[in-house]
């Protein structure tokens, strides 16, 4: 063997011995260099396979997520549109509520503070009015003409004559009665009058322009424009809409109070009297 080949053999043998030693060296984790070398060779292959698998899995995962996200987006868009519609409606209600609060706040701070509770003591059979009642409060209690009469929160009528211990109340159903009302939804106003007929709880609202949207069941409240009734009080609901005139509607309204069961009522001073500083408001007779 030539010296050169022997030198090469020497080098190869030394390397082989080193590899042999390395294969036996055990690390603290119990692994040997041989197992680590095997892992070093295999790990990239395994890593590549696992990476590819993870990549494919990730793509599928993203696809599924995207599909889910699209459905989620559509659902959220629908919910957002509905929420926006509800929000718009809520804002309208809020404005309406503000208007009503303003109206009621005015009433509470002025009219309702001077409210008087009265009992219905008679129903006149003879007299100038078809629909009227007598209550047991009069000028001695501060009650005077145009005092508003409420029955369980709904307008029943107004005082037309006050005596010392009693007062006569003209109900909304009487043809001589008139009350300024407002359509709660459409906000248009008009004068509601009693029909005086035999049909119970029926009043009429005339001359409502045909461009107004009115439906049965719509609510009418006091507008306060007549200077008597505080605005915002419940008056009645639309029973029927009739097109007797080519330009206007005639609306039959069912009043909210029940004349047959009138017993205890609440008397409020008229708005005009309160605004004008007339705290007494008593008079003998105005109609």
């Amino acid at each position: 063997m030539t010296e050169r080949r022997l030198g090469l053999l020497f080098a190869v043998t030394c390397l082989a011995l080193l590899a042999l030693i390395a294969a036996q060296v055990r690390r603290p984790d119990g692994s040997t260099a041989l197992s680590r070398a095997a892992r070093a060779v295999v790990a990239p292959l395994v890593g590549g396979v696992l990476g590819a698998a993870r990549g494919v899995g990730g793509i599928l995962d993203h696809y599924v997520t995207l599909v889910g996200a699209r459905a989620e987006r559509d659902r959220l868009a629908r919910e957002l549109a509905a929420a926006q519609a509800r929000l718009a409606r809520t804002r309208e209600l809020e404005l309406e509520n503000l208007r009503l609060r303003t109206a009621l706040g005015l009433a509470r701070t002025t009219v309702f503070e001077r409210a008087v509770v009265a009992e219905v003591i008679a129903r006149p059979e003879h007299g100038p009015y078809r629909h009227a009642v007598i209550v047991d409060r009069g000028r001695a209690d501060g009650v005077g003409p145009d005092w508003v009469v409420l029955d369980r929160g709904a307008v029943a009528g107004r005082v037309v004559r006050a005596e010392r211990r009693r007062a006569e109340v003209l109900l909304l159903l009487d043809p001589d009665s008139g009350i300024a009302v407002r359509h709660r939804e459409g906000r248009f106003t008009g004068i509601l009058r009693g029909t005086g007929g035999t049909e119970a709880r029926l009043a009429r609202l005339d001359y409502v322009p045909r461009d107004q949207q009115v439906l049965a069941g719509d609510v009418l409240v006091t507008s306060g424009l007549d200077g008597i009734y505080p605005p915002g009080l419940l008056v009645g609901t639309v029973r029927r809409v009739r097109g007797d005139s080519p330009l206007t509607w005639t609306i039959d309204v069912e009043v909210a109070f029940d004349p047959a069961s009138l017993e205890t009522v609440l008397l409020l001073p008229p708005v005009g009297a309160v605004r004008g500083g007339d705290t007494d408001g008593a008079g003998e007779d105005d109609r």
Binding site: L6, F10, T13, L17, L18, L20, I21, A22, Q24, V25
Partner: protein, 159 residues
Amino acid sequence: MRGRDVVALVALGFVLEVLAGLWPVAGRLFDPLLAIAVLAALPGRTGTAFAVALVTGLLADGWSSRWIGEQALAHLLIAYPLALLGRRVDLLVPLPALLAFLVATPASWAIGLAVGRLFDAPAGAGVGPLTWAAAAAVNGLFGMLLWHVLRRRDRLAPA
């Protein structure tokens, strides 16, 4: 050095190695197989030095080494360069031979430490310079004894 001499020396070295292992202190200091590998390298015959070093190293590994191949590597790294050196320098005279035997054991231990460091293996019990010197002296004396015997029998001849 004839082939039969080499075989006999290797066999003798293995027997002594086993016997020295029965006594811990002797087993720690005495390394007859390494001395025989060095002795085989002194004439400058690289082939013989390579073979003897590999065999003695593997025998030492099989007997007492922590890793198979560690002593073989040490014996090779010592004997083969020594044989190369012996081709140019006469190592068969007393002083170079003595130096070779004295240096061989510390060199073998150093190679063992280096291998351990290379593979980040936990270090064994530390030994001081006195131990190193004692081992070098013991193996040097043993090597020179063998050298003397072979020299007297005229079995050592340069390559």
